[in-house]
Amino acid sequence: MSNTKKADPAAAAELFILRDQVHEPMHDRFLWATMQRRDAQAAAIPEWEELRELASKIKEHTLTHLDHYLEEFEANATKRGAHIHWAIDAAEHNTIVHSILESHGVKELIKSKSMLQEECQMTPFLQNRGIKVIESDLGERIQQLDGQPPSHIVFPSIHKTRRDVAQLFARKIGTDPNNDDPHFLTEVMRNNARPRFLAAGAGMTGGNFAIAETGTFMVCTNEGNADIGASVPPLHIASIGIEKLVPRVEDMGVFLRLLARSAEGEPLTQYSSHFTGPRKGGELHIVLVDNGRSRRLGMPDFWHSLKCIRCGACMNTCPVYRRSGGLAYGATYSGPIGVILDPTFDEFKYSELPFHSTLCGSCTDVCPVKIDISDQIFKWRRVMAKKGYLPLVKRLAFAAAGRAFGHPEEFRLMEEAGGPALGYAPDFLLYNHSLNPWGRDRQLPQPAKKTFREWYLANRSEHGND
């Protein structure tokens, strides 16, 4: 058991909801609108469900032959002049990146969005060693200026209003706090970032896919920021999770048709860039990162989560995520995919996450690579229960109910004693009244004067011996 504090998504989500009448409704509305666009895009493709099945199969094939495809990727990328590094964990990833930067005398780094670098906590590591790190994606830059991690894997600052951003920029870069026009704010950041791109000694990117057949990796952005970072500074470093592999170039047709449609309801991102070895006059380093992935691959209930292509559709569709905001999860990955990924990094710290779900199943149905997200959330609950991570009050209530539900005579007794007992049976009523949060926003249901059982015994007496 780690000595870190448990993430408490229910409490954090409550703060997000109670904060004001603006943030949570806006967050819900924007992400719901994104889902509507996604649905329209998917509906326009007759073979949509077939594409999902293909993508799932390609990923399953790759993951069950991952050693082979990593070696093929390494050989082909090396042949094209890329330098390949392997990192067992976050610490090794950060050390490798730092040593490359140090050996090239790089003092300033411009980076595009990478959830893997976020997972590795790379930016503080480099900054502590005297390297200036600037996020170039607008949403990530907003979050960096605010000292917060991204709240969504595709829309990092989706929980902020335009007013929040205007005030943040005013504080940090001296703009007019009253001008909250998104066009103005975007322009501010464009002008702020340009000199940083030109001054940077290195550009860093993540990688959305890595193609074994050619040694290529792909980066998708809408802003073109990854492309500037890769094409202007002399040195390009890419951090790529080992699960990002696909075997062949033709597989990309399937994944790119699914990715942006699922993520944002657009046919593609504005830029889908393919890097195969260093560009003319440049130097390219690729860090292949494990950080728990090879171990996850051996978990029969959970290895399918490695199919994830980080589109964020499960977050957009999740009714709980939309009302919580991503920061409530207190983890690198939020939303349904976070609920099943984060515990693989720290079971205790993230033991509450699987309970921050209604198990509605929408995430499973929307996932473009058909990860059984909802079922995995259910299975993680079992893991947490076995480890004794259930909240105490709940554990005691269930132990009592579990006995009663297994013994009809005890059940009847409790039913009669409660007269019909509101203090007991249905799930939400398993708590002592004084502890029961049901009544805060809801009226309690009125128990019936006569149970169905009593009615049945009185009206279907011929069946009384059933």
Partner: protein, 202 residues
């Protein structure tokens, strides 16, 4: 030394984990050819380009491109061209360092082909000459042969030769962001506008 051993640790870990998945070992699926309605591709390309924030122009000559260019970007000081048809004010072949492109107002390139289902065009390092031309330019002009449009990404990847170029990009309209209150804004970091001129090569 360190990385060599990490490589072995990771690959061994994968092989060990894969032992548990042996029953689930999956074959690589064949990607079928999806049937398409036999509709002309250029109008579909134009519709999607417009949705992506780009603008398409039918032209019949290089002179017409230059006339429209002057109307679209009357204040452009630096026009950097990667196409033989148009000289601009700077030839990209004379650029040695990408930083020299920081002041480019308009970049002019020719795409190899377009993709109807998205309005994207395929640009490689060879088309851009210096990759940064496609991203540092304030505005982009793209020449595209109207006969070089494929239907979808499956067809597109049949034409892409990743083994022949260090960089290739499907570019769908200008730079965009919706990171402030989900409001769409063009010109986040890359090109502020993207105009496509349908013109076969000379």
């Amino acid at each position: 030394m360190e990385t060599t051993s990490s490589r072995e640790v990771i690959l061994k870990g994968i092989r060990y984990s894969n032992l548990f998945l042996i029953k689930q070992e999956a074959e690589a699926p064949q990607i079928p050819v999806f049937q398409r309605a036999d509709t002309p591709l250029k109008p579909e390309f134009e519709v999607h380009l417009q949705k992506a924030g780009g603008v398409a122009h039918d032209v019949s000559s290089v002179a017409e491109v230059e006339t429209k260019l002057a109307v679209l970007h009357p204040e452009a000081m630096v026009i950097c061209s990667a196409v033989p048809e148009i000289a601009g004010t700077r030839k990209v072949t004379e650029v040695h360092d990408p930083h020299e492109l920081a002041d480019v107002d308009v970049g002019i390139v020719r795409a190899q082909f377009g993709v109807a289902e998205s309005g994207a065009v395929w640009l490689t390092q060879e088309d851009l000459v210096v990759d940064a031309l496609g991203f540092l330019s304030q505005h982009l002009i793209v020449l595209l042969d109207p006969n070089e449009i494929v239907s979808d990404m499956h067809a597109a990847y049949l034409r892409v030769r990743l083994d022949e170029t260090a960089f290739g990009c499907f570019m769908m309209g200008p730079s965009a962001t919706a990171d402030v209150e989900a409001t769409l804004v063009h010109g986040a970091q890359g090109a502020r506008s993207l105009n496509i001129f349908f013109l076969p090569p000379m």
